[in-house]
Symmetry: C2
């Protein structure tokens, strides 16, 4: 708790607080969590947050750790702030965004940010961790120049307040060249116009992780700009003519690969900005500005932001925790689960599609940032349960992506009108299936979703999918990470089968159910592991089940990935030698000692993100603790998830053992803390575990109220004695989604020792 | 005539031909005319034309003559064709465009164009001048590969037909990196999508003369594309993931700084393409495609193109020339006068504004390419008289530019949503004033035009305008070409005064009339020339009235520019010492021998473009031959304009002695050939001269018919004996615009010797 208090900036008094008051946006902002502390609304298009560094990509094109380090633009331990930019990923494992940086400064104009070791040589500033970060609000005091900064946001507009405490020539730097993952050449083009003395518009176009990404902006100032300077303007190529003008000083228009501006406001001691963004056009940004933030009033927008978060948190209340501190992790996870995917359309419903054309969202809200390899597991099921409208609109956003895709595929990893093809699988089908199977009432065009899933699952060019369809497995010599791909394709195919079944298309259901058995084709009975195979059919000769490096797997090793058959757990247990052997194998995963040499190859996680050889910091294992529920020893699920909840989520800026991954790590926490988890999204059941809470009231979207209670729950009483729902005892460690939707009372009776008869195992 | 026939490709039979059959698009395509021979409609947005070369800008950034040489992409003497691109300036003095190049090829794919000296090393091809060029149609046979090419166009769609005569792997190259003035780095970004096997879309964005120019396209093929290859795709920066795919072969989407594609069609021996363009969006290009060219039928579009030109030429008929060959120059000039400014909006009226935002043209057609320093002189007056609707819409296009301009200025030299600031003055006000003073009935918002003109004339940052307003002249030490600027600003101010007067705003009229006298401030009585002055008020010490180089003038010397007071000819005559002295001075201009050393400094014209020291190839002198009408010797206007008509416009690809400048050179020809000229646009009168025609019937837009006849006219009978209009003898060598609009008969009686009493001089 010591570390936490140090960065809270205000004291914590547990008790009568609203849920959002427990949120600590700083959790995960150190090391690998890759969260950001700045101001945003639930699913807000603007994420206005301080950037402490954005190391350029190296000249020789080699991947650099520091690019990874600054995925969210901010690292808690850094001592200087470069400025405040408007777009940030939450918890990703790769980086982009950081658009439209604003930074107050004084004295002579400094056009470059300077370095962390010599901050005085640029416009960046030292700061102290007297920051305040709340949902929708961020404040910091900059040491040099002495400026009090406050940030809040509407959905599409960043609201800034700068109070200058010095007499020196105070001004604001607008740096359009700034960006996250800002390698040389990322900026493709910038455009800026001083429309009048309180309005600046323009756009910025980048070739980053999003290959062709353009963000338009409109900046309204609370006081008139007295003079301004625009740097690095690129003239028309007929240079002779441009040289006739002074295009740097008070010249109302500029364009070029990179553009910076310095805005002076006379003797003003406080400047407020409203910075609207749009993926569509300058007109879109102006429309967003006029619709969401027509007047200059920081306090008003701050109140609106708080109200917006309060409404989002109204889904849950009356939560009682075993330890008061758990409230912080719980509500912070809830917060992070609501900022992974974000709105990507203007207030009039216009948005830029993957085809780079402008579309009209017809009766839904268009979203972007789909880190699907991560979020299909628990994040989307979480939203589907508690925020079904938003999840249905995300599904429709994916469907529209499909309809606009030249490759006729649902998104793999998409952001801001770009497919970045990151990671593997075609897990959008899982999100679609989960929403369909669970009867999400807001689904817009479910009859088209099966077509989209089918088309996606049959694109031979994609990642060994041709070989998978021909051979029944991805061959390692055809496409790397072949085992991971085979297993995940098999699961995805099962999801398609569930959709087809739900829609009474038996032919398709049978076809994809058959394809979903392909996991068997990479099981090596000899080693007892899933193992890469070659086109010849033979298993790959060299094989080390502990290695994650170039061995047929990605973000995991054979130990972890061999459990990746969420859609057929009983069949897997059988395949791996039956209950007894399987349980022993599973036990080993959590208890074995992983030599450091293997950890060195494990991406994206801290040493602390590992329990034995179980890697919670990476996603492929997230369902594994729940595997015990399919054995005779469900209590091991209970003690393991409790261990993970306490061990892997800590009250610290470095509290996350791996990337939050757009809310997936947080959603795992939330489900597990509430006592149930979507073991196989696309299936209608949840797998039960030992809840972390003692009581919680959930206000479901259908108007029903679900009370979860865990009488006797404590740090020691981690074992379920029995579970009842609305008075009836549950005979399996599973509960149906439809049951939860009825509302009522889900009661976990807890005790210090396993009750081996807590459930009657089927 | 010999040269001409060589490039006609078909024999000429004078007599019963339609006007458009006399048009020879090849005139001006050699050396400095800078016209193009390809297919376009009147004011058509597509100019589909062969490019024979586009030499890159040199690395060290030095201006290169070859960039100038290929302003229109085509030089008649070149022996190879690089390909066929969709946008071309007509007759400009600087270059850009050349967008979306298509070239047929066979055998192994050649991704680069190769060089003119080694055409076989690239996709370019040798060709013979068996070309056919007609209004709206162009055909050529390529030697290697053997392909018969035909091109036509709708307003916004280029129509291609390729007949392959070889069995080798025939294919089409689509080179988005191609462009005119294609220096390294001009291409900012390209995007391409294979929507389906007969449709490709995308865009290309450049930083050329137009600083921020984007052209969107949609290409429909007559036969299915069997396989395709996309070159130089730029991946997302997360290269590891992109390397997983083969993004070059049949991968449906590409983007990057430069993109090329090769399209294969199986065994097809004929491929037709319809290539729609838009300045707005891919959707705009698709809309243009569907609206203008929904089906594949080359012959149909060729007929439409011919019909469109026939309609445009229906303004004039029954023309009888002194020499049959004059018909070719006359109708070719008429053709060139109708392709200088071009439509810049989609069929639904959407267009991109100077503010880079999308606007809706409300009740008018939006145009672009305003080379105003040239075209205000005769081109816009020509359109204002014979195509008043188009000219009114051009005026409104300029007004909208003003309303979107961050600098609050009307266009100076604008093209494709860009102000390139080329040349001097603010001559849009002349175009506005001319249309207002001449009561153009189609003017849309005349009440706003005066505001726009005023705002434009008071931007102190612009080209010494602040000094001009303070001192009464542009000081040479403040802004170069100071005399040219002072004189042209003064004329422009007079234009504003005419607008104000017409609108009964006497205060403004008086103010600008006073400013229009500023020409007097640069007259040096000592030398008898207009001469640069310094801020101190003193004339610049060094002064050579023959030099055009860095002496206070641009595209002219003191000899020519000293006559640049079109708005106050009588006052100028007085200023320069009275009639006798003035006439002698004027005579000298046409008869003196200009040493070669001075010609070396004269841009944009051929040695042949000079008569004495009179430079017809540059525009500042275009009114000078008509100055004699303000003296006692108007017959010298008559013999001089006749000399220029015959000497400066020749029946040859090299027939133009200077750039056609978006039709200005051609419009000079047309007015002069018809016997009258707009000496001072913004004034209501025309200045009369010896017509080149013997008879002509002009069908005015108001329904009236104007017959011009010149009984006795011949190569020798160049002198006006008397002029009558509708039976009444004219007593001055001037005629009012309103008179011509009445229709009727304008009769020039011609003779071999000057009739010194032809007019009673007032």
């Amino acid at each position: 708790m010591r570390i936490l208090i140090c960065f809270l900036g205000f004291s914590v008094a547990f008790g009568q607080q609203k849920p959002m008051e427990f949120v600590r946006p700083f959790i995960g902002t150190q090391d690998v969590g890759h969260t950001y502390p700045g101001a945003t609304l639930p699913f807000g298009a603007v994420q206005l947050s301080p950037d402490t560094d954005t190391i350029p990509f190296s000249i020789n094109g080699k991947y650099q750790a520091d690019v990874y380090r600054y995925c969210a633009g901010y690292q808690y331990k850094d001592s200087s702030i470069v400025g405040f930019s408007h777009t940030h990923f939450s918890g990703t494992g790769h980086s982009d965004l950081g658009d439209i940086l604003i930074m107050p400064n004084s004295g002579p104009i400094q056009w470059n940010p300077g370095t962390s070791s010599e901050p005085q040589k640029g416009y960046r500033s030292l700061y102290r961790h007297e920051e305040i970060a709340e949902p929708g609000y961020y404040a910091v005091y900059l040491d040099e120049p002495k400026v009090a900064v406050e940030l809040t946001a509407t959905e599409r507009v960043g609201i800034h307040k700068y109070r200058f405490n010095e007499e020196k020539q105070s001004h604001l730097i607008l740096d359009l060249t700034h960006g996250i993952y800002n390698y040389d050449g990322k900026n493709v083009w910038c455009f800026i116009r001083v429309e009048n003395d309180t309005l600046i518009t323009g756009y910025k176009q980048t070739n980053g992780w999003g290959r062709t990404r353009t963000i338009y902006f409109a900046i309204a100032t609370s006081k008139p700009i007295s003079t301004y300077h625009i740097k690095d303007v690129k003239p028309s190529t007929y240079k002779g003519f441009w040289r006739k003008f002074d295009t740097e000083n008070n010249f109302a228009e500029g364009a070029g690969q990179g553009i910076k501006a310095a805005l002076f406001f006379g003797a003003a001691d406080e400047i407020q900005l409203r910075v609207a963004i749009s993926g569509v056009s300058i007109d879109g940004a102006l429309l967003n500005l006029q619709s969401e933030a027509p007047i200059s009033d920081f306090t008003y927008y701050h109140k609106l932001a708080s109200a917006s978060w309060e409404k989002a948190f109204s889904v849950i209340n009356n939560v009682e925790f075993i330890e008061p501190d758990d409230a912080i992790n719980f509500y912070t996870a809830w917060y992070h689960a609501l900022i992974g995917s974000t709105i990507y359309m203007d207030v009039d419903g216009k948005y830029r599609g993957i085809d780079q054309r402008i579309h009209q969202a017809d009766g839904y809200t268009n979203y972007t940032t789909f880190s699907l390899w991560d979020t299909y597991r628990a994040e989307h099921p979480f939203l589907n349960l508690f925020y079904p409208k938003q999840n249905a609109d995300m599904v429709e956003s994916m469907q529209q992506h499909f309809e606009q895709s030249a490759h006729h595929m649902l998104p793999i990893w998409s952001h801001y009108a770009n497919e970045n093809w990151c990671m593997i699988g075609y897990h959008a089908v899982s999100v679609l299936a989960d929403a369909i199977v669970k009867n999400n009432p807001y689904l817009k065009n479910p009859k088209y979703y099966l077509d989209a899933a089918q088309s996606t699952a049959n694109q031979r060019f994609y990642e060994g999918l041709g070989a998978y369809m021909d051979l029944g497995f991805v061959a390692e010599d055809v496409s790397g990470s072949s085992v991971s791909k085979t297993l995940e394709y098999a699961y995805d195919d099962w999801c398609i089968a569930q959709m087809a079944k739900k829609m009474s298309n038996d032919t398709l259901a049978t076809y994809y159910l058959k394809r979903s058995e392909n996991y068997k084709n990479v099981y090596d009975e000899g080693s007892g592991f899933m193992r890469p195979r070659m086109s010849s059919g033979a298993f790959k000769n060299t094989f080390d089940p502990l290695s994650t490096h170039d061995q047929g797997f990605i973000e995991g090793n054979a130990w972890n990935y061999s459990f990746y058959v969420p859609h057929a757990p009983l069949e897997l247990i059988k395949l791996m030698g039956g209950q007894k052997k399987f349980i022993a194998h599973l036990d080993s995963l959590f208890t074995m000692e992983l030599p450091d040499v293997y950890f060195a190859h494990t991406e994206d996680i801290m040493r602390e993100g590992i329990i034995g050889n179980y890697v919670h910091g990476n996603e492929p294992s997230h369902h594994i603790p729940y595997f015990y529920n399919f054995t005779s020893q469900p209590w091991k699920t209970q003690e393991t998830t409790r261990l993970i909840l306490k061990d892997q989520y800590r009250l610290s800026s470095a509290g996350m053992g791996g990337n939050d991954d757009c809310g997936q790590m947080s959603a795992w926490y939330l489900f597990s803390a509430l006592g149930f988890y979507p073991f196989a999204p696309g299936a209608s059941y949840y797998s039960l575990t030992s809840p972390l809470i003692k009581n919680a009231t959930l206000h479901l979207d259908n108007g029903k109220i679900l009370h979860i209670s865990a009488p006797g729950n404590s740090a020691e009483n981690v074992f379920i004695q029995k579970v009842s729902f609305n008075g009836a005892r549950l005979t399996t460690p599973f509960i149906e989604h439809e049951q939860l939707l009825l509302g009522g009372n889900l009661v976990f009776e807890m005790g210090p020792k396993p009750n081996k008869n807590a459930f009657i195992i089927k």
